[in-house]
Amino acid sequence: MAAETPAQPPAAASEPNHGLRIFLPWLVLSVVADVIIWTLWRPHMPPGSMSTAGVNQQFDIAVMAVLAAPVMIFVLLYFAYALIVWRQKPGDDADGPAIHGNTRIQATWIVVSSVIVLFLAVFGTVELFTAQGSGGGEGASPIFTADVKGPLQVQVIGQQWKFTYRYPQYGGFETTDLVLPTNTWVEFHVTSIDVIHSFWAYQLGVKADANPGVDNIAYTKIYHTGSITVRCAELCGLWHGAMFDFGKAVTPAAFHAWAEATEVHLAAVTKLLPPYALTYDPTVVPQMSKAMVAAGLTGGAGLYYPPDDPAEP
C-alpha cells in the first residue's frame, strides 16, 4: 500500500459551478442551432416541397432535428468540457472525488428523456394517422382520405423490373410514363403482379409498398411542376437497381391534354388489358387461363402459375 493517509478531496469552495458553465453555452448553442435548422435548413431538407406529403415530411424531419440538436449539443459540449476541465494535470496522481450520485440530476435526466420520447411517440403516431402520413400508403382502407370529390386515381403496378401506371378515369389505359397534374389530389393505388416492390416517388414524398394482391393507397397533392424520380425501394431481383424511371408534374390543362391523347394512342393495347381492378391475380385471370388451356398447357389445371407451382428447386 503506497499511502496510509487518504488523499484530501478538493475543497468544495474552490470548485466552479460546472453545471452553470455547461448549461449557459448549451442554451445559447441550442437556440442558435434550432433557429438555423428551422429557418434555413428546413426548406432544403429532403424530399423537398413539391407536394403535400413532401412538405409534411420536411416538417417531421425538422421537428425531430430541432429536438435532437440540443441533445447532441449537450453530449458534445459535456464531452469537450470534461476533456478540458477535468483533464488530469501533469504530476497529479491523486484519485478524483468519490461520486455519490445526484438525485436532482438523475430526476431531471429521466424526466427530460421521458418527455422527449413520449412526445415523439405521440407526435409520430399523429403524423402517421393524418395527412402527413398519407404518402406512405395505408393499405386498402386508409385512415386519411383526401376530403375532395374525385381525386385523380393512378394505379401503380410493380413488376419485374418496371412500374407501369393505369389511369382508370381515362379509359384505364396503362403506360410506362408517370404524368401527374399539379394542384390536384392524387390517389395512388399501388400493387404488384409478381414479387414485392416499393413505389418510391422521391420528390412527392410517396413511398408505398407494392405487394401482390394488395391495394395500397397513398395520397398527395403536387404544388408545382417538375421532374419526379421513381425508384423501387424493395430488393426485387437481379435488375432491382435498374428499376427506376422519371415522371413529371404538369399543369392540370397539360395533364388533361396528355391523358386524352394517350388514351386514344393506347386504345388498341388497352383492349388487351384485363378490366381495371384494384389488384390482379395472374393465377385466376380468366383470359390468361383460357389462353393456357387453348394452348394445351393444362399442367396447372388451366391456371397460370398455381400456388403450388412456384417452388424453388
Binding site: 437481379l238 385471370v285 389462353a291 394452348a295 398447357l297 407451382d309 424453388e312
Partner: protein, 233 residues
C-alpha cells in the same frame, strides 16, 4: 503440435483462403458469358447500320441447365451461335435486329407488353408481316419479349405456328436446316442511344417455370433470358 506442423498447417490454411478468394473472384466476378462485338469497324454516332442476330430456344444443350429457356447471339464474324446475352453495339447507330423464335408460347403476365414500343415506327415484322402488338391472351402466340427498359424498347416474340415447336433437339437451333413452320422470324430496328453504357435487356414473359412467379432461374441469369447491350463509342 510441433513447430513445423504448425507452420505447415498455417500455410495450408492460408492457401485455402487464397484459393477460395480466387475462385470467388474468377467464378462470380470475372466469369460469365462472353460479349459478342457488333461495334468493330463501325464509326459510332454516324447512323451506320448494324445487324444483330439472335434466337430464343425452349431449352439449351450447351450449359449446366439444359432445361432452361435461353437466348443465343450470332457472332457477326464467324456466324457461330454463342450462348450469351451480352452484345456490344456502337452508339448513335441504327440497329437492325433479327430474332428467330423457336420457343412455344407462354402468356404474358401483363398483356401491356404485347405492344411494340421503342422501335423505328413502333413496329416489328413477324415473318415479314408488320405488327404493332400481339395479344398473348387471345391465343397462344407469344413466347418471349425482347425489352430494353432504358430506351423504352419492347418487342413481343411470336411463337411458331406449329404446335410441335420446342422440339429443336439441340440448341442453338439452326434456321437454315429447320422447317419454316417450326420458328418465326422477328425483325425490327431501333436507334442505339448516343449515351454510352450498359443497357440491360430482359424477357417480360415469366418463362422461368418452377421458380417464384416464373421469374427466377433463367430470367435472372446472364446468358439465358436477360443480358446487357453495351453501347460504346
Amino acid at each position: 503440435m510441433s513447430l513445423p506442423a504448425r507452420i505447415s498447417l498455417l500455410i495450408v490454411a492460408f492457401a485455402a483462403v487464397v484459393a477460395i478468394g480466387a475462385f470467388v473472384v474468377l467464378h462470380y466476378f470475372l466469369g460469365g458469358p462472353a460479349t459478342v462485338d457488333y461495334s468493330t469497324g463501325v464509326t459510332p454516332n454516324t447512323g451506320a447500320t448494324v445487324h444483330v442476330v439472335m434466337q430464343e430456344d425452349a431449352q439449351n444443350t450447351v450449359s449446366t441447365h439444359p432445361d432452361w429457356v435461353s437466348y443465343f447471339i450470332q457472332d457477326p464474324k464467324t456466324k457461330a451461335w454463342e450462348h450469351t446475352t451480352l452484345f456490344k453495339v456502337p452508339a448513335g447507330s441504327r440497329i437492325d435486329m433479327t430474332i428467330y423464335g423457336f420457343d412455344g408460347c407462354t402468356p404474358l403476365r401483363n398483356p401491356v407488353w404485347g405492344q411494340v414500343t421503342g422501335t423505328i415506327g413502333d413496329v416489328e415484322y413477324v415473318n415479314g408481316k408488320a405488327m404493332h402488338q400481339i395479344n398473348s391472351w387471345s391465343g397462344c402466340n407469344v413466347g418471349h419479349t425482347f425489352s430494353i427498359p432504358g430506351i423504352n424498347l419492347n418487342v413481343p416474340m411470336a411463337t411458331p405456328s406449329n404446335p410441335n415447336a420446342n422440339l429443336c433437339a439441340t440448341s442453338p437451333c439452326l434456321p437454315a436446316t429447320t422447317a419454316k413452320n417450326l420458328y418465326k422470324v422477328m425483325t425490327f430496328s431501333f436507334n442505339s442511344p448516343h449515351a454510352t453504357g450498359e443497357y440491360f435487356w430482359q424477357c417480360r414473359v415469366p418463362c422461368g417455370g418452377g421458380f417464384v412467379t416464373g421469374f427466377g432461374g433463367p430470367m435472372q441469369t446472364l446468358g439465358f433470358m436477360t443480358g446487357n447491350m453495351d453501347v460504346v463509342s
